[in-house]
């Protein structure tokens, strides 16, 4: 389609547009179902069985089972919907956001206290900031990968 998508060159960022929304429709609607306490109980009692009630792709289901939010977003998930999974797990928004960077909970929290992630080098793909693909995962996990 000929509509502009001026936002595709931002590293580590997926804009939830109509195309993503279509891809992620049932993944996100599954997440919405977790706003009801009785559904949270059923989901926790058998995640796979609960997921199988939804017309989601196998990859989407696996991303949920793995709590792999980056993967879920690439498959059409939106963070405000996916956050219902985190809420079901008793996780805070900071824990969820941090989990997508590869950093430990502590590393991420400390980055925020130090003033957050700098936009420098993270505005366009191809720059050298810490959010660029070539620097993933971040934190100790990344340093370990490099040493190995």
């Amino acid at each position: 389609m000929a509509l502009d998508k001026p936002y595709v060159d931002i590293p580590g960022t997926t804009i939830f547009d109509a195309e993503q929304s279509r891809k992620g429709y049932w993944l996100n609607q599954f997440c919405m179902s977790l706003m009801k306490a009785e559904n949270r109980v059923r989901f926790k009692a058998g995640e796979r069985a609960y997921l199988d009630e939804w017309p989601m792709s196998e990859a989407q289901k696996q991303a949920v089972l793995d709590r792999d939010l980056n993967r879920a977003i690439s498959l059409g998930g939106n963070i405000y919907f996916l956050a219902k999974i985190g809420a079901t797990d008793g996780k805070s928004f900071q824990q969820m956001a941090g989990s997508m960077t590869g950093m430990s909970e502590e590393e991420y929290r400390d980055m925020m206290i130090r003033g957050g992630r700098s936009p420098e080098g993270n505005r366009h793909l191809g720059e050298d900031g810490d959010a660029q693909p070539q620097h993933q995962p971040q934190g100790a996990a990344g340093r370990k990968n490099k040493e190995a």
Binding site: S21, Y80, K84, A97, M112, G116, H135
Partner: protein
């Protein structure tokens, strides 16, 4: 004749609501955040409005992917705090103002804004956290509130220019209401934050502060800034800031009146993943 006396701008971070609800406002992490609202709480007492027109966004709470209104105005008599997955916040039910809300809806629809009218809706942290920040923990909110929800979740979200024009239409609508109500308009969400992907945690304090400067002094100019700049500079969820332009557009200077007075300005990093920004502007 009703009039808009002031506009209030503030972030609406859910973790701030949790800190209030769980009695953590005195912790070192949170103290500086709440200190920034000490002035505001007193100001609210000294300048109690008759109605608050509260612009916010729903975060996949009242609206799922089944139905996504670009602009939704709440015309009901009341709105319950939503259960966002952690149980509902222990805050008062929001009392609406059906007469003024319907009047504004009628007026701005005739002014070519294609609103969705909502008579049943739970309100999430986007609406209740600003009330908590500005009013503390009262038994009841100090006045009726008209919820006005803007889609900033699924793209395309309304442009800054459209939001700024809508604010102007809202001012005209309020001023054509017969009862002499004192109305405040609040714009919420932002400042810079990103909640997703490898870029999660992005904060751009210089950009945020330039936004505050320009929102005060050159809102028409700011309203021309395209979405992609918000996303690139202030993080994917920084796009919420377009909602501040609705409140700003409703101030009298935009229609030729005197410049507003900056009664309060505050900026702090971090609250959870987010920069906290806050402004109070009074009409001169």
């Amino acid at each position: 004749m009703a009039r808009i006396s002031a506009s209030v701008y503030t972030s609406h971070v859910p973790a701030i609501g949790a800190a209030i609800d769980h009695g953590k406002t005195g912790e070192d992490y949170w103290k500086p955040v709440f200190a920034g609202y000490d002035f505001s709480k007193q100001w609210m007492k000294d300048n109690k409005p008759d109605v608050i027109f509260l612009v916010y966004n729903d975060h996949a709470t009242a609206f799922s992917l089944e139905l996504i209104p670009t602009f939704a105005i709440g015309t009901a008599a009341q709105f319950k705090p939503a259960d966002e997955g952690y149980g509902a916040r222990p805050v008062p039910t929001v009392i609406g103002h059906p007469e003024l809300a319907s009047h504004i809806a009628q007026s701005v629809i005739q002014d070519d804004f294609d609103l969705t009218i909502v008579n049943r809706m739970d309100v999430d942290h986007g609406l209740t956290v600003p009330l908590s920040l500005m009013c503390g923990q009262p038994e009841a909110w100090p006045c009726p509130v008209i919820p006005f929800a803007v889609n900033v979740v699924q793209y395309p979200v309304p442009s800054g220019r459209r939001c700024f024009q809508l604010g102007q239409a809202i001012r005209r609508a309020v001023e054509s209401y017969d009862e002499p109500l004192n109305v405040q308009i609040w714009g919420t969400g932002g400042m810079s934050h990103q909640l997703q992907g490898a870029r999660a945690g992005l904060i751009n304090a210089p950009w945020d502060n330039a936004f505050l400067d320009r929102l005060i002094a050159d809102p028409a100019g700011q309203s021309e800034v395209p979405h992609v700049e918000y996303v690139r500079e202030a993080g994917s969820e920084g796009i919420e800031l377009v909602m501040w332009l609705i409140a700003r557009g409703a101030m009298s200077d935009v229609a030729g009146g005197p410049a507003p007075m900056v009664r309060h300005r505050f900026y702090h990093v971090p609250a959870s993943n987010t920069a906290v920004g806050h402004l109070i502007l009074e009409n001169g």
